[in-house]
Each structure stands twice: as C-alpha cells, then as structure tokens.
Assembly symmetry: C2
Homo-oligomer: 154 residues x 2
DNA sequence: TATTGTTATACTCTATAACTATA
DNA sequence: TATAGTTATAGAGTATAACAATA
C-alpha cells in the first residue's frame, strides 16, 4: 500500500493501520497456500452461496476470463468445484468444497475475533466516537469521489 | 481487499474505507498510465532521495530482481533513471527524472489535500478521539501480531 | 441476437537460482 | 568471500479479442 511513510494526518494513520492488517493477512494466507484473489472469491461464495462465473466476475470486479483462471486454481487445490447450473446449460455453478468451506469458517471466526481484539482496552465512548469519525470520513470520501467523477465527465 | 462485505464491526468499517481509498487511487494511477508498484517506488525516491536498488528492495520489501524490473519500467517511461553510484562501481543510483518528480509533487499535494478534505464537517474533538481510537487499534494490532509470531515460534 | 464460459495472447508483479562485475 | 545487479525461468493476477455452446 502506498502513502504510509509519514503520518502527519489521519489519512496516513488509516493507511498505516490497514497496511499492517493487509501484511498480516498476506502472511497468514501464504502459510495456508492461499492467495488473496482466490481467497476473495471463496469469501464471496462463503457469504453469498454458489454463483455463476459471471456473477463472481461482477462481485470481484474482474473480467469473466479472470474468474476462469481463479476457479481453475481453486479446483486444482480442492477448494471449490464447478457443477452444472440447474437451469442454464451454458453456465456453471461454482461451489465451495468441504475443504474450502472448512477453511472459510476458520477464517471467518478469526476475522470476527480480530474485530474484537482490536478494541481491547478502549472504552465504549471512544469506540463509538471512532466509529462515527470513520463513518464521516467514508461519507466525505464518497462525496469527493462523486464530485471528482462529475467534474471529469464535464 | 478482502473482508468488506458486512460491516458488523469496526474492522469491517476500517477495511471498507481503505478499500474505497485504494480503488480510487488505482483509478487515478491508471488514468496517468502508472501502476501501484512503480508509483510506490517513485514515492520512496520522492521522500528519501536517490537510492541503490538494494535499498529500494528493502524499502519496498521485494527482491532486488523485482526492483530491476520496476526501474526498467520507470526508465522506459521517463519517470526515473539509473545513474552511476558516486563511490561504488557495482551499484547504481536511481533518481526521479524531472517528469517523475513533477508527477510525485502533484500526487503529494493531492494526498495532503485529501487528508484535509476527509475531515470536512468533523469537529476537533471527534477528530482527536478518532485518532486516539485508531492509534489504540494499531497498538493492539501490533501486539496481537507479535504474540501470534511468538506463539508460532515456540 | 445476446449471454456464458473458454482458448489465445500479452503485460505486470512477484519469486528463486545462477551468473558477472566489483568490493 | 561478500555484495550489487542482471539474465533465465516460472507462477499468479489481470486484460482484450475471438470463438463455441446455449438461451
């Protein structure tokens, strides 16, 4: 992640925290022989159930061709499998295997635990205000992006 | 980025914000014909001055071989150049070109502006508490990672 | 005619290993 | 002998374009 070298403002602090989160997660995935892109696809299946490759491409914001490659990799490592689509013979239904499901359950539990552990030692008022602050930042960010896109479209 | 589908906790909120930031930045880089990895290298040069490729490899946490490829790309687009190292004939000194420097100055200004714009409408107390909250989260995160590494090393 | 997924091709980022030139 | 950087090779993620099968 870029822009984490100085921390003169809240943006750098935010990026620093998520850079550390990301690096930690990458190490964990590497230990399990997983990659970020494939895990992301599994995460979508875990939370949304079986899906066609076009649906996965939309969810991941990548091309259908890319999903073909990702599912190939997941099938080769017994993490997901292609099954016939119940009604459309052109499409396939991608499912998690038992192994893939088990891994995602573990990762989901770890994710939830991390969410609590990160707040250790913070009082409720601080947590509440931090959440409000982050939500305001997100709202500002989305407004800025929308304004920027609008200006560009002129 | 993973794990941004639900936002039941502050971790998901945090990841959601930085996911949006990252996506916005990727679009900007793409418009300028830049990539994340090459821009990161330029960012290191911009803030740290000319460096050898080994130093860049350490700063970016990649292999020296990878830096060769990144600098090749930056040289081909007139964003950086290799110069002889003043004292070590084995090494090269990588510099930003005028064009590279100009782009980094623009990006740095945009980054600073974004840092302020994200706080629009927030009162000082909220900002201060949000910063405290994020710093506590970062401290917890670093402690958790250290504990985890220690447990693994046993 | 439109959609789903694949084959073909290419570029970027990344790694390891072997090698050259220099220290 | 150790270090800086490159050549060689490989894998993963990503894209566009052309194509087959099906809707």
């Amino acid at each position: 992640m870029l822009f984490t070298m100085s921390e003169s403002n809240i943006l750098d602090l935010l990026l620093s925290v998520t850079h550390t989160l990301q690096a930690d997660q990458d190490r964990e995935l590497d230990r399990r022989g997983l990659t970020t892109a494939r895990t992301h696809l599994m995460w979508v299946l875990f939370h949304g159930g079986p899906a066609t490759q076009v649906q996965l491409a939309e969810a991941l914001a990548v091309t259908p061709r890319n999903v073909t490659a990702l599912v190939d990799g997941l099938e080769a490592t017994d993490l997901a499998r292609r099954e016939p689509h119940p009604t459309d013979r052109r499409a396939v239904h991608v499912h998690l295997t038992e192994r893939g499901l088990s891994i995602m359950e573990t990762m989901n539990a770890e994710h939830t635990a991390l969410g609590s552990d990160l707040l250790a030692g913070l009082d409720e008022a601080t947590v509440a205000t931090t959440i409000r602050g982050l939500e305001a930042i997100r709202a500002n960010l989305e407004r800025l992006i929308a304004e920027h896109e609008a200006a560009r479209a002129e």
